[in-house]
């Protein structure tokens, strides 16, 4: 799994579209790392070098510092906004650190003796340094506060603005009145530390959505359209069906289409969860969003660039991300009430302390309360973990639809399964042919010829059995399907009919006592029978076995280990249901259910056992999936993007179910611990601040620390999911 993730990261890096050495910049060639030497400082590596992959190349470094320095020079660039934030932070930090240096000297009494007359001058210098910091770093907070006030809201920025602004204003007042208590260091350091907190938040968010990023950029893609031998870059939104598009190695394929020139392999993980590259040749179908790995391809678009499957998936993911889930809504509401409460506590603190100590000291205590109470970490608690979870699901080809899905998945107590095509392979296995005379081959040939015209799951098993026995299939004519009953058609001048036993009986087909007996016997043992007859007589019985998926028993056992109840719902006869349930290890089963019965059974079961999820193939069990608390469809996100399931697992992905539940539970746990941390941190810190044990600067350090804690706690999810 580790390999899988690393590999994925690698592909997400911008990959140079040019691979031949001629097109490689000369500087890059010159800097090619030498084995045994640090890629950055070119000194010998030593016994324990640090190794990193930067832009897809392996590098060794003599120390971690060199590793960082190298990545700074050669790594990918972030948005200019991030740079601007850092410039402000750096410049503000420079001034604030200077203020802090002088303040440290003032506090340590360096100027107390011979140089005491310098102190007022130093105060002025501090004031001059502090003013630009208030503008550079304080502006965004003041701006947010003002915007909030205009809308009648108090936000966390209000607390920061009020805290830093009050400390600054008080100090300026003291400067002019010649007072000795100035707090420029507090005002500026609070702003620096909260800006650091903001940066941490931004970085955490950026990291959290990294796995989702390819799912959000479908519409921002460019395609190089080839027309009359000339390539023109066009936004995918302008690409029309029928246009030819050139895709170079390493590029993401921007459109759905058919290859008309070139061969390559494609990384389709983003759409199918398949980690192995898929070979692509001329006339093969390629999907937008996949990465073209080796060769240059010319693709003819099958649909407009804005109507790709990838584009539809992107819309679903974006919708899911943009809705806050219920936990987040509660937290937001709480945070909204929190701010006015903090303002009240601050006022009380100042009033109380003012009777005990000097006013400046009391104000400082009040300031500490304001600063330490800022509920920044709360705002981060849920979205970060949710986005990380979503990214993990997408990486394995699972599509989550709706913000509540992860939360609901974490809370389910039971899982109900549809049988055919979900837990079983469908009727792929012909186990026995029963005939009165030696008609075996004829019966199979004729039935297979009829079933050739059918899409029914049974047909597949019968045809493949005929193929295995290398039978020549006769031509069937005027074939008709009677839904729910069977097929009829003319083969070699006979009217052949294949289907359910009761249908043939209804049509007055004669069935011998022996055959009836066999029919009953086999059905009791859990097999499905197809009756075949011609000339008004049942000639043979074909028994098909609905075989359990190999992975199913392990998967069910793991689900039970997670404390989940299991239920099998099937429209099949009881004996089949029982056999499959017992082999898979499922607790309960209900058979001979019509689709609407399934809904009713599921709802009763849910009432008894707590919230339940329903797993189906998403094709013919739509109603029951929609009625379940959580509908899980198995079968590949590409085909099912338009279906109604809440969670779509990739083809053959039913084995992922225990992981899905574990990940959802981990996400929920992370959100809850985050909230507990953030609230607990605030509660303890406010108590300390109210009792006067906390200096405002220390309070700001604590707050930045709590943001960091929430970010780091959330990022643990990434590690966790690679272990599961």
């Amino acid at each position: 799994m580790e390999y899988f993730l690393n590999d994925h990261k690698l592909h997400l890096n911008p990959i140079s579209p040019l691979t031949d050495s001629q097109s490689m910049p000369k500087a890059e060639l010159r800097k090619a790392p030498k084995e045994g030497f640090c890629s950055h400082c070119l000194l010998a590596l030593g016994s324990h070098p640090t190794r990193r992959t930067v832009n897809g190349e392996d590098h060794g470094f003599c120390c971690y510092g060199c590793c960082l320095a190298f990545q700074v020079k050669h790594g990918s660039r972030e948005e200019p906004e991030a740079a601007w934030l850092l410039i402000r932070l750096g410049t503000g930090g420079f001034l604030a650190m200077n203020i802090m240096l002088f303040s440290l000297l003032l506090y340590s009494g360096t100027f107390n003796y011979a140089d005491a007359e310098l102190i007022p001058l130093i105060h002025w210098i501090l004031g001059i340094f502090a003013t630009p910091v208030m503008l550079i770093l304080g502006w965004p907070f003041f701006h947010e506060t003002w915007d909030g006030l205009l809308q009648g809201r108090l936000t966390s920025s209000t607390l920061i603005s009020l805290g830093a602004g009050a400390a600054y204003a008080y100090s300026v007042l003291m400067l002019f009145t010649g007072g000795s208590h100035i707090y420029f260091d507090t005002a500026t350091m609070v702003l620096v530390l909260f800006t650091v907190g903001r940066y941490l938040e931004a970085a955490g968010r950026a990291k959290a959505v990294r796995n989702i990023a390819p799912m959000l950029e479908a519409e921002e893609q460019w395609a190089s359209v080839v027309e009359n031998g000339k390539e023109t870059p066009l936004s995918v939104r302008q690409v029309q069906a029928g246009m030819s598009v050139r895709v170079r190695p390493g590029e993401r394929i921007p459109v759905d289409g058919t290859i008309i020139e070139g061969c390559s392999s494609a990384d389709e993980r983003i759409l199918t969860g398949e980690s192995r590259p898929v070979t692509k040749n001329v006339d093969d179908y390629v999907l937008a969003g996949c990465i073209n790995l080796e060769g240059s391809l010319l693709i003819k678009c099958n649909a407009a660039g804005s109507d790709t499957r990838w584009g539809n998936l992107c819309r679903i993911v974006r919708d899911t991300l943009s809705q806050p889930n219920s936990t987040q809504r509660i937290v937001d509401k709480a945070a909204g009430r929190f701010v006015p409460a903090v303002l009240g506590i601050t006022a009380l603190t100042i009033i109380y302390w003012q009777t005990e100590v000097a006013l400046n000291q009391a104000l400082l205590h009040g300031l500490a309360v304001l600063v330490v109470a800022c509920p920044c970490a709360l705002g981060l608690a849920a979205p970060l973990a949710t986005a990380l979870g979503l990214g993990q699901f997408l990486q394995r080809g699972c599509l989550v639809r709706g913000a509540e899905v992860q939360e609901k998945l974490a809370r389910i107590q039971g899982i109900a399964f549809d049988k055919t095509g979900t837990l079983t392979e469908g009727y792929t296995n012909l186990v026995h042919i029963e005939c009165e005379e030696d008609y075996h081959e004829v019966v199979l040939r004729r039935t297979a010829a009829l079933e050739h015209h059918s899409e029914h799951p049974l047909a597949h098993g019968i045809i493949s059995a005929a193929k295995t026995r290398k039978l020549q299939l006769p031509e069937a004519q005027k074939v008709q399907a009677v839904p729910g009953s069977g097929l009829l058609g003319y083969i070699e001048d006979d009217l052949v009919i294949a289907g359910r036993a009761d249908w043939l009986r209804k049509l007055d087909y004669e069935i011998s006592g022996y055959m009836s007996e066999r029919l009953e016997q086999q059905e009791n043992s859990g097999h499905t029978a197809v009756c075949v007859g011609w000339n008004k007589k049942v000639k043979g019985l074909l028994f098909l076995d609905d075989q359990l998926l190999n992975d199913a028993p392990v998967m069910v056992r793991e689900l039970k280990n997670l404390g989940l109840k299991t239920l099998l719902l099937t429209g099949d006869i009881s004996s089949v249901g029982q056999r499959i349930a017992e082999t898979a290890g499922i607790d309960e089963w209900e058979a001979t259910l019509a689709p609407e019965d399934k809904c009713a059974v599921l709802s009763t079961w849910g009432k008894k056992n707590g919230p339940a999820a329903m797993v189906g193939d998403g094709l013919n069990d739509g109603p029951v999936l929609a009625s379940a608390g959580i509908g899980i469809a198995v079968g590949g996100a590409t085909d099912l993007a338009r279906e109604t399931a809440d969670l779509v697992l990739p083809q053959g992905g039913i084995i992922l179910l225990p992981w899905v539940i574990q990940l959802s539970r981990a996400v929920r746990k992370t959100i809850l611990t985050n909230i507990m941390w953030a609230f607990g941190y605030n509660a303890v810190a406010i108590t300390l601040a109210v009792s006067g044990f906390l200096l405002p600067i220390l309070a700001a350090v604590l707050m930045a620390g709590s943001s960091l804690l929430v970010v780091l706690n959330s990022l643990r999810l990434e590690k966790l999911s690679s272990e599961v």
């Binding site: 510092g65 960082l68 020079k73 410039i87």
Partner: protein
Amino acid sequence: MSYYLLIFLAGIAGSFHCIGMCGGFACVLGRNPKGYISTLLRHLLYNSGRIVSYAFMGGLAGMAGHKLFSSVQAGNELMSAGHNQMGFTHLAPLLPASLSTGQRILAVFAGLLMLIMAFQLFGYFNRLHRFTTGFGGITFVNSLTSLLNSPKRAAPLAFGVFNGFLPCPLVYAFVAQAAASSNSFSGIMTMIAFGLGTFPAMLLIGGVSQLVQPHWRKLGVRVAGSFILLFGLITLIRGLVPTLGHGIFS
């Protein structure tokens, strides 16, 4: 003052290490097409940012040392009184005549830390170095990349400030030294002296980095390591055998 001179010299020797690691940044900052004055201004801004970060760490370390020192010897009133009289004129002597228990513990700790850093410069203990992994490293690095390439005028200053906080055994060693001085002022002075020592090489580097061959730089790093080893040993001895060093360096 001889103490700060020594640290300044250690800074100069250490700048061979800086050329390898941070020199690349200075190269990227490069020349300003508007002329020499603008180029000089860019590099001065970058280096001032760096030195202020060092001084800040030194000040904090000195204060932390002081807190630790005064908490350990809270009972010793005589010492406290003596310490409170250390004013502006007190510039920590290398081996002060008398040391409290707190200062000695601090000196042993700082001395050991410096020895580890020195060995790291010689190529040992590299694993200790990877304390910032994953999140901190990569994200911070990506942001710095954008900063380094930003055309804004204040960018070199901001970059210098952050550069000052990048993990570096030299800086840690001298921060430990600053903490051992157990006084904000001498902590700040220690780091400024070290920072000024690295100043000339870093300022010139835009033009001369190609001239300094890896061989010479390796030698320089060894010299820097030896300096730190020496400092570490002296600090350690100061903590372990307070009377031994009396009179030698003061």
